[in-house]
C-alpha cells in the first residue's frame, strides 16, 4: 500500500473514531452535541432547542446545559487527543472522569447555536487540566469559560 493511501486510511479511521467517541455518550446525543474537526482542531456544537432553555422569558439557555456542554467538550477533546496520538486499544478510548470543574458565566446564552473549543493546559500522568471557552456570535465574545481537572483512565 502506498504511503498516500495509508495516510488517507488513517484520516478516515480518525474521523470514524471521533464520531463513535461522541455517539457513545447518550447524554451528548440527548443535547444534540456534535463535533467538527479541521485538522487536529475540534469544535463542539450545541444546536439551540426548546429543551435546553432555562429562562423562557428571555429566552436563555439553561446554565446547567452550558456547563454540561463545556464538560462534554473537554471530555471528547481528551478522548480525541488519545486517538490522534495513537490509541492502540479496542474501539474508542474510555472517557476521562471529571474531578472538578469551575464555570464562569459571562453572557447569557441566546437562542442560537453555541460553539466550544477545549485547550489542554497540562497533561499529567493521571490528571489533565483543561480550559474550555464557549461562544455564539463571535469567538472573542465568550458566553462561558470553564476550567477543569480530569482523571485519565488507566
Amino acid at each position: 500500500m502506498s504511503r498516500l493511501s495509508e495516510i488517507a486510511e488513517q484520516e478516515e479511521a480518525h474521523g470514524a473514531a471521533l464520531g463513535k467517541l461522541a455517539a457513545q455518550i447518550p447524554y451528548a446525543k440527548f443535547l444534540g452535541v456534535r463535533f467538527d474537526r479541521l485538522g487536529d482542531e475540534l469544535t463542539a456544537r450545541l444546536p439551540f432547542a426548546e429543551a435546553i432553555v432555562g429562562n423562557p422569558m428571555l429566552p436563555a439557555i439553561h446554565g446547567g446545559v452550558t456547563g454540561a456542554f463545556l464538560e462534554l467538550t473537554a471530555q471528547v477533546q481528551l478522548g480525541w487527543n488519545e486517538i490522534v496520538t495513537g490509541w492502540a486499544g479496542q474501539g474508542v478510548p474510555p472517557l476521562p472522569k471529571t474531578i472538578d470543574i469551575s464555570v464562569d458565566y459571562l453572557r447569557s446564552g441566546k437562542p442560537r447555536e453555541t460553539f466550544a473549543r477545549a485547550h489542554v493546559q497540562k497533561a499529567g500522568r493521571r490528571v489533565v487540566h483543561v480550559h474550555v471557552a464557549a461562544w455564539q456570535d463571535a469567538q472573542d465574545r465568550p458566553i462561558a469559560m470553564m476550567r477543569g481537572n480530569f482523571l485519565m483512565p488507566d
Binding site: I25, N55, H62, L72
Partner: protein, 158 residues
C-alpha cells in the same frame, strides 16, 4: 430507603422548617429542567431540595450506565438558583455568575440523585450558595458545588 431519600431524616439533617414533599413537583417553568424530569421537594428559608431520576438518555458512561456529570451540573445549578429564590426578600431575576463543582464519586446507575442547596449569604447584588448532590445520604455525596448569582431586586428598579 433504597430508592429515595427519607423525608423525615432529610428534614432533620437540614433542619427544614416546612414539609418535605417526597413525590416532588415538576419544574414546569424551566424547559430544560422539565425535559430531564427535575423535581422540587422543598423550597423555603433560603434552602431548596431538588432531584433528577436516572434515565437512559442521561447516561454519560455507556460502560457503567452512570448519569453524565452534566446532568448533575444542571441539577446543582438549578438547586442553587432555587435556594436564592427561596430567600425571604423578594427578588426579581437571578443569573449564574459562576459555579464550581467537585465530583466525589459517580452516581449509581438506576438511582435518583437529590440535591440540597442553600443561599448562605445575600448582598445587595450577589447571592452566595453551596450545594451537595447525593442518593440517600448527604454525608456520602456524589458531588458538591458552590455558586454565585447576580441578583436583581424589585425595589432597585423604582
Amino acid at each position: 430507603m433504597t430508592e429515595s431519600a427519607d423525608a423525615r431524616e432529610l428534614g432533620e439533617v437540614f433542619s427544614l422548617t416546612g414539609a418535605f414533599d417526597s413525590e416532588g413537583t415538576v419544574l414546569s417553568g424551566l424547559p430544560h429542567s422539565r425535559e430531564i424530569g427535575m423535581r422540587v421537594h422543598y423550597s423555603g428559608d433560603s434552602q431548596a431540595v431538588l432531584s433528577v431520576d436516572w434515565n437512559e438518555k442521561l447516561i454519560g458512561d455507556p460502560q457503567s450506565g452512570v448519569m453524565h456529570g452534566g446532568v448533575i451540573t444542571a441539577l446543582l445549578d438549578t438547586a442553587c438558583g432555587a435556594a436564592v429564590m427561596a430567600v425571604p426578600e423578594k427578588l426579581d431575576t437571578i443569573a449564574t455568575l459562576d459555579l464550581r463543582i467537585a465530583y466525589m464519586r459517580p452516581a449509581t446507575k438506576g438511582l435518583r440523585v437529590y440535591c440540597r442547596a442553600e443561599c448562605y449569604r445575600l448582598t445587595r447584588s450577589i447571592a452566595f450558595t453551596r450545594a451537595v448532590a447525593f442518593h440517600d445520604d448527604p454525608a456520602d455525596p456524589v458531588a458538591s458545588a458552590s455558586g454565585t448569582f447576580i441578583v436583581e431586586r424589585r425595589e432597585a428598579k423604582a
